[in-house]
């Protein structure tokens, strides 16, 4: 009944050159095409960079001054908190709803596969278009959301989705969850297909019902995939800002502003490139922590 995971170890004892070659190819590619640009940004975050010297490679070194300036900006704490809430809600919702949808559409009923494919429509659209659509839906006066909710008597007055600082973060979170969940769903669905049929058959023969099968076979086998998806969703959400830019530009009063958008505003709207890069690096550090955590869980899995 146990998955053949423990047996994988046996293969690993050999160290085929080919596998190292595979690994090297991918890693080198990433280091060149993403690593170098990131180094550029990290270096910029410890320099004083304005329009005048942005084309130089050597600029005045200011140590952690940019970071201090970023930290002391009153909107920074708000933005940091917003990012944490935004990402947290997104991960929980996207993975949770994605899992539920994947399980549901894995059942065999007429039209299951077509319907599941249609859900991906939300992910295909450019962020600019999705942002505009949700901006219209959430508009206080002419938006469909308020229209439907008041008609159904679920709310008494119009909600100022995007113009009330206490609600705007919720609004952009809903929009982003809508945007990203199909992605999580499809990845979980792919993970579902990797679970060998025999396990289910054996369990059924042993008399396990659907719920038991779900809890004891599906979820444990799916766990590594779920964790990987959660990790990816965290990263994607941490860097997403096109959607928020299109919906609220981070306003009102930075209530829906997140780290990457603040970084963009500092660099390209106010021309303080060093500080913008420093803010971007904050995200980097947070994700580094998440990544290390993820890898730790993998170590446990291989030992278990």
């Amino acid at each position: 009944m146990r998955a053949g995971r423990a047996a994988v170890g046996k293969i690993g004892r050999r160290r085929p050159v080919l596998l190292y070659a595979f690994l090297a190819a991918s890693m080198l590619y990433l280091l060149v095409f993403i690593g170098l640009p990131i180094v550029y940004n990290l270096v910029m975050s410890v320099q004083e960079v304005e329009l005048g010297n942005i084309s130089d490679l050597v600029r005045p070194f200011v140590g952690l001054e940019n970071y201090r300036e970023a930290w002391e900006d009153p909107s920074f704490r708000t933005v940091l908190l917003n990012s944490a809430l935004f990402v947290g809600a997104n991960v929980v919702a996207q993975v949770g709803i994605g899992l539920a949808l994947a399980l549901f559409f894995a059942q065999r009923f007429p039209g299951a596969h077509v319907l599941r494919g249609l859900l991906l429509a939300s992910w295909v659209l450019p962020a600019l278009v999705v942002g505009a659509l949700w901006k219209w839906i959430f508009a206080t006066d002419y938006g469909v959301a308020n229209y439907v909710l008041t008609r159904l008597h679920l709310i008494s007055g119009a909600i100022h989705w995007l113009s009330d600082p206490t609600v705007s973060l919720t609004a952009v979170t809903i929009a982003n969850i809508w945007f990203g969940t199909p992605f999580a769903m499809i990845l979980v669905a792919a993970g579902l297909t990797s679970i060998p049929e025999e396990q289910y058959e054996a369990a059924s023969l042993d008399g396990a019902g659907p719920l038991a099968r779900l809890l004891h076979i599906t979820l444990p086998s799916l766990w590594p995939t779920l964790v990987a998806v959660a990790c990816l969703v965290t990263i994607y959400t941490m860097r997403a800002f096109d959607l928020i830019f299109a919906m609220t530009q981070g306003g009102p009063l930075d209530s829906s502003n997140v780290l990457p958008l603040l970084s963009y505003q500092l660099s390209f709207q106010r021309f303080h490139f060093g500080v913008g890069a420093a803010v971007g690096s904050f995200s980097f550090i947070i994700v580094l922590a998440v990544a290390v955590l993820y890898v730790r869980t993998l170590r446990r899995e291989s030992e278990g």
Binding site: K10, L19, L30, L101, V124, L125, W136, A190, E197, Y200
Partner: protein, 282 residues
């Protein structure tokens, strides 16, 4: 017993109920997409009217007509595909092999490599575009599809590595052991045995990479200054001017943009199901 016990839902009634629930979920979920189509046949003024018109009052194809007339829509779509298809290929090539290695090797390097693959994705394109531009200018890859493909593939590669690894680990070791016993080398095992089992996740990753590349905006905008090379994501901005946007045309363009990909999904969904019923894992 050839029945798939996991999937069998009792009665016919249950199956129909599930279909009904499924349709309801999809209809509700896709409401904003409907809104996009509806907006493309409304006038600009009607889009912003209060109360909102859920059914367009005087649907018109004027926006579509204007989009086709004013912009070289075919060229934009062609450019989008010229970027998206190679990106998918590169991602699958490097991703399928790299994540296999990540799942089978047992060195500390794996941890490092995974952390790298994850953190390298954190920076938004807008911040990476500038150094990317400098790099490509030095090697003469500006205003080429190759440059954009290389830049975009890095994004999907990182995610492919992370997501395929746990799925590779699902593949039972006995299968690989068996092929080893038969005398197959690493490559043979990988190519003949493991990959076919991973067909479904690979298709999924391929499709997702395709969609991500198809929707790329920042890199094509920065790395391709020649109008003839620009893909649809940049083209959509020709309806968004300095001070205002022709939203009906933007939505019409977006509708045209989305349809090929949706068709792609629907076609590939069948393949996935076919793979399942054929008992790919046996």
């Amino acid at each position: 017993m050839m029945r798939s016990l996991r999937r069998r839902i009792g009665s016919r009634g249950m199956r129909i109920l599930c279909s009904a629930i499924g349709i309801t979920i999809v209809v509700c979920y896709l409401f904003p997409v409907y809104w996009m189509f509806a907006s493309s046949v409304k006038t600009s003024a009607e889009i912003f009217a209060n109360p909102p018109s859920i059914i367009p009052s005087h649907p018109t194809l004027a926006a579509f007509r204007q989009v086709f007339e004013s912009e070289n829509v075919v060229r934009y779509m062609r450019n989008s595909l010229a970027i998206a298809i190679p990106v998918t290929v590169v991602t699958l090539l490097l991703g399928a092999s790299g994540s296999y290695a990540l799942s089978r090797l047992r060195t500390r390097l794996i941890g490092v490599a995974l952390v790298l693959a994850l953190i390298l994705q954190i920076f938004p394109d807008a911040l990476l575009a500038t150094p990317m531009f400098i790099m490509f200018r030095h090697v003469g890859l500006l205003n080429t599809f190759t440059g954009v493909v290389l830049a975009t593939s890095a994004k999907s590669l990182a995610f492919a590595l992370v997501i395929l690894r746990p799925m590779y680990r699902q593949v039972p070791a006995e299968i690989e052991e068996a092929s080893r016993v038969d005398g197959c080398g690493t490559w043979q095992t990988f190519w003949r045995i493991v990959l076919p089992i991973m067909r479904v996740p690979l298709i999924v990753v391929g499709v997702l990479s395709f969609v991500q590349a198809y929707g790329q905006f920042v890199y094509p905008l920065t790395l391709l200054s020649k109008q003839e090379l620009q893909p649809a994501t940049v083209g959509i901005y020709s309806f968004i001017g300095a001070e205002y946007a022709d939203w009906d045309r933007v939505m019409a363009f977006a509708s045209i943009f989305a349809i090929p990909v949706l068709i792609l999904f629907l076609l590939l969904q069948r393949k996935i199901v076919a793979g399942l019923t054929a008992g790919a894992l046996k």
